[in-house]
């Protein structure tokens, strides 16, 4: 009985999601189209419930003989990812309804993707990790091509699938090398085995595979295309929950399994971070499509997050959680903005369509301005504090060159963030947007308010992240 309880505390949320997902499949089979509307609310409720279960089992535990180990660090990420998944799911409903593609498969896919996130975050074994990644990825490929009648959506899904499959292959090859040279797929065993060239080689391949999942340069190429092509609510989901989960898994993998070869990966992560920050910043400068721009912006932001990873577990873990959370909050709001851009005859995506938004929808424009300010890392919103703690982590770890790139790319990034603000406030107003429902507007306002409130009362939030990362501090 005791054993059962330990298992629940380790995999309770995943169990819940898996059961709910299967139940959803059955319900869909029996109820058919009548289940479509209900499924979104139930799906979001399930995800929130899963987040609650995570919080109730905050200290985590071990299950299946060490295949799964959870702790506060990954539970923090689970919590944020599940909540983000729930919010983006609610935002999706109206959009899909208007495009007549509202189907109960959508929330089920989000739930299975979230299940994948839960599994990779709980993984303390490379096999568990791979299984979780595939669960997440396969659900994501289908989601990207959810508008099956749209060429762009299908193209995005196919691109994502082909490149994603390649990345999975590379990751798996890395896993096999690591297994071959250390004789184990357990994080702890790998960490305690001695450094061999084969281990490092396998690790590099695994880093490449993971870099694809978090869309870090040079494995970022899919990001702008998929962001542009996939349906907007799907992109809102991609940009938030899986990003948070994958990035924390990436860090967790390096901090635990590869803690023995810290010097080896620190340099690689440093290079990836530098490339991501620069490519993200420069790439976004010339974009006219808002979704594409946000794609590049996310590449740059993953670069900032990787600076925290490169700082190592002791300095960077808490900073990573803080930064990623601020990024997820701002992204939810910004994609809510994208979802609000509806005109007669369909959605619009060009930045110029936001022209003079302040005169048409003052509240929305102010909220979006706050969100842009936050994601740009400008004071006044919590994004500033996110960047500040990353900077501090990098400084403590002595990563001066990375910090210089971070500051410079932030200045470049201001160029395009400022342009968004300018278009909203200065340009002559364009035609009014069609209403898209209260959920989206509410999400945008809530995200903007969260950015401001967290900026002022940031202390408990940072304490929470620090406490969650306490396990990494010797």
């Amino acid at each position: 009985m005791l054993d059962f309880q330990a298992m629940i505390s380790a995999i309770g949320p995943e169990l819940l999601l898996a059961l709910a997902g299967l139940a959803g499949v059955l319900a869909g089979a029996y109820m058919g189209d009548r289940f479509n509307g209900l499924s979104f609310k139930l799906g979001a409720a399930t995800l929130l419930l899963a987040a609650l279960v995570v919080i109730m089992n905050w200290e985590g535990g071990e299950a299946f003989g060490g295949l799964v180990t959870t702790g506060p660090f990954v539970n923090f990420a689970k919590c944020i990812s599940f909540v983000a998944g729930a919010v983006t799911l609610l935002m999706a409903e109206g959009f899909l309804k208007r495009h007549e593609t509202i189907r109960y498969e959508y929330p089920l896919l989000v739930i299975f993707a979230s299940l994948g996130m839960g599994i990779i975050l709980s993984a303390s074994n490379l096999m568990t990790l791979y299984m979780g990644i595939e669960t997440l990825s396969l659900s994501s490929y289908v989601l990207a091509s959810f508008h099956r009648d749209s060429i762009r959506s299908s193209e995005a899904g196919l691109k994502y699938f082909v490149l994603g499959a390649l990345a999975s292959g590379i990751l798996l090859y890395g896993i096999s090398l690591v297994y071959g040279f250390t004789g184990s797929v357990d994080y702890g065993d790998i960490a305690s085995s001695e450094r061999t060239i084969g281990l490092v080689f396998g690790m590099v391949l695994m880093i490449s595979g993971m870099a694809f999942k978090v869309s870090a340069a040079p494995m970022h190429v899919w990001t702008p295309d998929v962001y542009e092509g996939a349906p907007s609510p799907v992109v809102a989901f991609f940009a938030t929950a899986p990003k948070m989960a994958s990035m924390v898994v990436f860090a967790n993998l390096l901090f635990t399994a590869f803690s023995g070869v810290f010097e080896d990966w620190q340099m690689i992560i440093g290079i990836i971070a530098t490339l991501s920050m620069l490519i993200g910043a420069f790439g976004a400068l010339i974009q006219t499509n808002l979704k594409r721009l946000l794609g590049y912006s996310s590449i740059a932001n993953m670069g900032y997050a990787l600076v925290a990873v490169a700082a190592g577990a002791e300095y960077g873990a808490a900073a990573l959680l803080v930064f990623m959370t601020t990024y997820v909050i701002a992204s939810i709001g910004l994609f809510g903005g994208v979802l609000s851009m509806r005109r007669e005859g369909g959605m619009v995506e060009s930045i110029d369509e936001l022209a003079g938004l302040v005169r048409r929808r003052t509240g929305l424009a102010i909220a979006l301005t706050i969100l842009v300010i936050s994601v740009a890392g400008f004071p006044l919103a919590v994004g500033f504090i996110g960047k500040l703690v990353v900077f501090q982590a990098g400084w403590n770890a002595g990563l001066l060159p990375l910090l210089i790139v971070l500051v410079l790319s932030s200045v470049i990034a201001f160029g395009y963030y400022l342009r968004i603000i300018l278009v909203m406030w200065v340009k002559e107003p364009a035609e009014r947007f069609q209403p898209v429902g209260a959920t989206v507007a509410l999400s945008v306002y809530a995200a903007a308010a969260a950015c401001l409130v967290l900026f002022v009362f940031v202390s408990p939030f940072i304490d929470w992240a620090t406490q969650a990362s306490a396990g990494f501090i010797q």
């Binding site: 003052t362 509240g363 300010i373 400084w395 200045v411």
Partner: protein, 497 residues
């Protein structure tokens, strides 16, 4: 005074007003009134809030003890990771806050009737800006200071970008990016200081001794930010563009308050925290100040646009401020603070004066005017007063600031003082030329035939500035008594006191 957080109240009262206006406007969104009426209501509400802020700052003045050393009315709440929300004032910040709370309602009054579109947003932008400006002057924590310092860019960016002239987009971008680039160096220095000293508390850092070689770099990082903000030659080029494109009220705030942040920064941070570096860079600062004074004066003389002329004159006058600060003498520093206050009043008034004729004739070209004295005698008199104040006529506040900074500089370097004195002569040249070409002579432009003299609204905006300029010119001790402690503290690390 009990424990009432008067500084927080003064700082955030305008922001509260902005939120209230926003909420009320959103709640009454569709009651049928046209946009202009609603805009005027917002402006009136904004005016009430900024006036209330001014009253609150007078309460602050009343509870300030002039002779007490150190910072007063300190409020402190922990923010995050050892960084605090900490406010406090000394004499210098007290006067700069008063200047801010005085100029903001004046700017709003000046906008009445002249700014026609989107008045609600306009009012909100000014109120938000006021909060950030006050915050800059009373923040007692480096990170908090940085937050206010940077945050102020956004409302100003929007004010220039939305309500500015034809080239407003270019000007607002230039303003933003110039200032931002300078500030990021300062942010890096702030993070370094925080990690090195373990605190970002300004009061603690003032007595923390950084190693001399570290000081040099930190000083340069802060210099990058303040030199752009002040602005000093050669990074002043954003200022004429910003001024010309900004609406009148934006120019008043820009010249009256935002430029003072640079001088404030030098006195609050550079001198007490990096004394060795400050002494090391004294010759450079003198050289840059004198170049700014002489060069900007000469450039001002060649301008054909009234606002641009006054903008360059601001660059020159801020040169006196840096000259006084880096003389490291009590008289020089006192003069520099005085000059900041005085220039805030005078340049604010000059931009209002330009705005008055611009509203009537819709051009800022000097050549389009001439003979205004025939049509607008009161206007001509007011213009004359501020022309003289800008030149530094005894009896006006401009004189006191210039003479004291030069006296201070003279004790440190005769050449620098001599160069600066040249600037005083030049300032008479360009100001009197401007005055002659616009006010005297025959009326040549037919557009001026039916021009009306200053109205009630114009008088309401300008009279407080007239009173301030004359009052400070006649009894400068009002200021000196308040700022003495600040000046001595800014200097104590350098003179070893």
């Amino acid at each position: 005074m009990g424990n009432f957080p008067i500084l927080t109240a003064v700082t955030f009262l305008p922001l509260a007003g902005a939120l209230l206006i926003m909420l009320v406007q959103a709640a009454t969104g569709s009651n049928g009134q046209d946009e202009e009426t609603r805009g005027r209501q917002s402006l009136m509400a904004g005016l009430i809030f900024s006036a209330a802020t001014f009253v609150a700052s007078l309460v602050m003045l009343a509870s300030f003890e002039v002779d007490a050393p150190g910072y007063q009315l300190v409020e402190q709440v922990s923010w995050f990771a050892g960084i605090q929300y900490k406010l406090g004032i000394d004499g210098m910040s007290l006067l700069l806050i008063l200047l801010t709370t005085l100029l903001t309602p004046i700017s709003l009054i000046a906008s009445y009737g002249t700014v026609k579109h989107r008045l609600t947003e306009y009012t909100i932008a000014f109120l938000v800006l006021e909060t950030f400006m006050i915050g800059v002057f009373c923040a007692m924590d480096l990170v908090l200071f940085y937050v206010f310092f940077e945050a102020g860019l956004i409302p100003m960016f929007i004010i220039i970008g939305v309500w500015g002239g034809a080239d407003r987009i270019y000007a607002s971008f230039k303003f933003f990016l110039y200032t931002l680039l300078g500030s990021l160096f300062m942010l890096a220095a702030i993070v370094f200081m925080y990690l090195q000293a373990g605190t970002s508390d300004i009061m603690v850092l003032e007595t923390y001794a950084f190693a001399p070689e570290v000081q040099t770099w930190l000083w340069l990082a802060f210099f990058a930010s303040f030199a752009v903000k002040l602005p000093m030659w050669p990074v002043h080029t954003w200022l004429p563009d910003a001024h010309v494109q900004a609406p009148t009220a934006g120019s008043v705030i820009l010249a009256g308050v935002l430029l003072k942040m640079g001088g404030y920064g030098f006195l609050r941070f550079s001198l007490p925290m990096f004394p060795d570096a400050s002494e090391f860079f004294q010759p450079m600062m003198f050289a840059l100040s004198v170049i700014a004074i002489v060069y900007a004066s000469l450039v001002a003389f060649r301008q054909t646009d009234m606002k641009k002329l006054i903008a360059y004159s601001s660059v020159a006058h801020m040169g006196f401020v840096t000259l006084g600060i880096f003389s490291f003498t009590e008289v020089g520093v006192q003069g520099a603070i005085f000059q900041m206050i005085s220039h805030g009043l005078i340049s604010g008034a000059l931009f209002l004066i330009v705005g008055m004729v611009y509203d009537r004739v819709h051009t800022r070209e000097i050549a389009a005017y001439g003979g205004l004295v025939n049509k607008m005698p009161i206007y001509a008199a007011i213009f004359m007063l501020f022309t003289m104040a800008n030149v530094g006529l005894p009896g006006t506040s401009g004189f006191v600031g210039e003479i004291l900074t030069m006296t201070g500089a003279f004790q440190a370097s005769t050449w620098a003082a001599a160069g600066a004195a040249l600037g005083v002569i030049f300032s008479a040249v360009y100001m009197l030329t401007l005055y002659r070409r616009t006010v005297f002579g025959p009326v040549t432009n037919p557009a001026l035939e039916n021009i009306t003299d200053v109205g009630k609204k114009d008088l309401v905006t300008i009279v407080p500035l007239i009173i301030g300029t004359i009052l400070l010119g006649v009894t400068p001790n009002l200021v000196f008594d308040i700022t003495r402690e600040s000046s001595l503290r800014a200097l104590q690390m350098i003179t070893g006191g």
